[in-house]
């Protein structure tokens, strides 16, 4: 269906200028609210990611509204989410909306670390309050840094989280700064707050051992679980389309063992246009009998996001 939103055409809260990254949807009766992370430049010339949303008619042609106030403030001094919240994963849970945030904080020897936080909305997702100043999922013995990109859903009354964890920082002579490697993992929970995890990479690599895997999203269809995610090379991925993000695909019958099968992802970069160099940050959701996927294109979503419909 192509690109449906370009942030540079609208006025955004928190002095944000561009980027609409990692679009993620909540479907209401008469409209669909799509959250995304957008960016402002701080006083040091560095980016801060903020959460915003846009409400669409269910035909995704007309925009009803765009958030004009802060959806969720960044963390205070020293907190895990002081320097940005991106992505922002939302989940309806009876009359609340839960948000699993990825909070960023800047470091010295490497650019940043990230952890997963929880925020809760009691006003249909207009604003969220944090469940504590700290994260619900962060570095552990076998997951030493960059615990982020949570996607949470419920199957059979159990919470499942797919997320990524960093395995190493490697030096990159091109960029003169360490680059990260991260892999997809799985956690479960009965309350959405305390999580059990075993620090296991669940999706096999296809590029090489330093393949970076990000933003898993899972949906059930035809009695099978389907996961989309994005993956890229660890270095030289920003400007080189050959090494940048592509969408990957895997399936599972039991939510535990996954078979990677990118050839059957059914979606690929376009020959030209807004998603011709990369595709990243997929988000699957059900909307009126359809399965839809939001995703970003070139430049990691600087100029917005698009939508695709799954034809089963």
């Amino acid at each position: 269906m192509g690109k449906i939103f370009d942030p540079t055409n609208y006025s955004l809260p928190n002095n944000c200028l561009a980027f609409a990254q990692s679009p993620q949807a909540i479907v209401f009766d008469h409209f669909v609210r799509i959250y995304f992370s957008t960016r402002e430049l701080d006083q040091y010339g560095k980016f801060l990611s903020h959460v915003a949303f846009v409400d669409f008619e269910k035909n995704f042609n007309e925009i009803i509204d765009i958030s004009n106030t802060t959806v969720l403030p960044l963390g205070e001094l020293g907190c895990f989410d002081e320097h940005g919240i991106f992505p922002f994963n939302v989940l309806k849970d009876s009359n609340r909306i839960l948000a699993y945030t990825t909070g960023w904080n800047r470091k010295i020897s490497v650019s940043a670390d990230a952890s997963v936080g929880l925020a809760i909305s009691d006003d249909n997702g207009l604003t969220f309050k944090k469940y504590g100043k700290g994260p619900v999922l962060t570095a552990s013995l076998k997951e030493p840094f960059l615990v982020c990109d949570a996607f949470v859903t419920k199957f059979d009354d159990q919470f499942h989280m797919w997320y990524i964890f960093g395995t190493k920082w490697i030096s990159d002579l091109l960029d003169n700064a360490p680059q990260r490697v991260y892999k997809i993992a799985h956690a479960t929970s009965s309350d959405g707050i305390q999580w059990k995890r075993d620090a296991k990479q669940i999706i096999s690599d296809t590029l090489n051992e330093n393949e970076c895997q990000a933003l898993p999203t899972v949906i059930k269809a035809n009695e099978r679980y389907h996961m989309y995610f994005c993956f890229r090379y660890a270095t030289d991925f920003r400007k080189n389309p050959e090494r940048s993000y592509r969408l990957g695909y895997a399936w599972s019958n039991d939510l535990i063992s996954w078979t990677r099968d990118d050839d059957n992802s059914g979606i690929a970069i376009s020959a030209e246009g807004w998603d011709s160099e990369m595709m990243c940050y997929p988000h699957l959701f059900n909307c009126d009998e359809k399965i839809l996927m939001l995703y970003n294109g070139n430049e990691f979503g600087k100029f917005g996001f698009g939508l695709a419909e799954l034809e089963v």
């Binding site: 020293g78 470091k107 013995l141 707050i193």
Partner: protein
């Protein structure tokens, strides 16, 4: 009321330190007792880098069991590696708390990383020794006690103990970063977690020790031991800001408990303070209490948080 008799300084790294990494500081002493000697672990530092920043490394000295002032061995190299790029303990391992059980020796330590908006963050790691405590290796690159919604940052000062087959970890938990005109300072309070294996921890989730100086009082080094039917805690506390000024730095505090959870602070009973002159005339802190051959001792650091080493006191009386 405790009454401690100071016996003097045991070790000053500026005089006896070995190598590039043991130039100054001998902090947070912690003891293992062997047949013929006592091993004292501590954290030491090489000289600071061009920005004035330190890393902190774990080492030990061995002293004669019959004469704790006779140093018989000084370790040659740091005994716990710093973390690799981007990990929680890349820039230091301090303080450390060593424990020996029936079948192993472990160390719990605070690992340090450097941040942009605040100067540092810390989380608690664990490492194991397969050679009688000569060296330690990690079982993972990440921390064993990390951040939670209610404990968002700066987890430090671990003190590991086992009572009645349960592992206990007392530690400092950062509660707030004060802006302090662009020189952020953390507020941290003493907390506790329990475990059946020392790896998976359940936290109590409460500050254990009442404040005495001010709301933003910093509390560290919660050293707990069982003696004459109750649990005793010697800890260190200081003012939050300008703590390098005389009178605002670390002092020794005291609290007691019968259940390891509820603590009654009673600093009047601490029974140890600064000396009139010398290496511990401004500050006495980071106590470690242990029993050796029927005598109770306390190791402690002195001025400038252990820059000039640590000393020993013995318990004269307790009522």
């Amino acid at each position: 009321m405790f009454r401690w008799k100071k016996l003097g300084r045991i070790f000053n790294p500026a005089e006896l330190g070995h190598g590039y990494w043991m130039k100054e500081y001998a902090q947070a002493p912690s003891v293992l007792i062997f047949d013929s000697f006592v091993r004292i672990y501590f954290s030491s530092r090489p000289l600071p880098d061009h920005k004035g920043q330190y890393v902190s490394r774990l080492g030990f000295i061995d002293v004669e069991r019959e004469n704790l002032f006779n140093i018989v061995n000084i370790c040659k190299e740091p005994i716990l590696p710093l973390g690799s790029l981007g990990t929680f303990d890349e820039f230091g391992t301090y303080p450390a708390s060593v424990i020996q059980t029936e079948n192993e020796i472990r160390v719990y330590y605070a690992g340090w990383t450097r941040c942009e908006s605040v100067p540092f963050n810390a989380a608690i790691g664990v490492a194991f020794s397969a050679d009688q405590g000569n060296t330690f290796s990690k079982i993972g690159e990440g921390p064993v006690l990390s951040f939670t919604p209610d404990e968002p940052y700066v987890l430090g000062s671990p003190k590991i103990r086992r009572f009645n087959d349960i592992w206990y970890l007392w530690y400092s938990s950062g509660r707030q970063w004060l802006h302090n005109d662009g020189f952020p300072q953390p507020v941290y309070k003493i907390r506790m977690a329990q475990s059946t294996d020392g790896i998976e921890w359940t936290r109590l989730g409460e500050d254990l020790i009442q404040d005495r100086l001010e709301k933003n009082e910093c509390q560290a080094s919660p050293d707990v031991f069982f003696y004459q039917g109750i649990y005793h805690m010697f800890f260190s506390f200081r003012y939050n800001l300008n703590f390098k000024d005389v009178g605002r730095g670390y002092k020794m505090g005291y609290a007691y408990s019968i259940d390891l959870i509820h603590w009654k602070r009673d600093d009047e009973k601490v029974g140890i303070g600064i000396s009139e002159i010398g290496w511990d005339s401004e500050s006495v802190s980071y106590g470690f209490v242990f029993e050796l051959d029927k005598q109770i001792y306390m190791l402690h650091q002195g001025n400038e948080i252990g820059k000039y080493g640590f000393g020993l006191a013995e318990l004269e009386s307790y009522k």
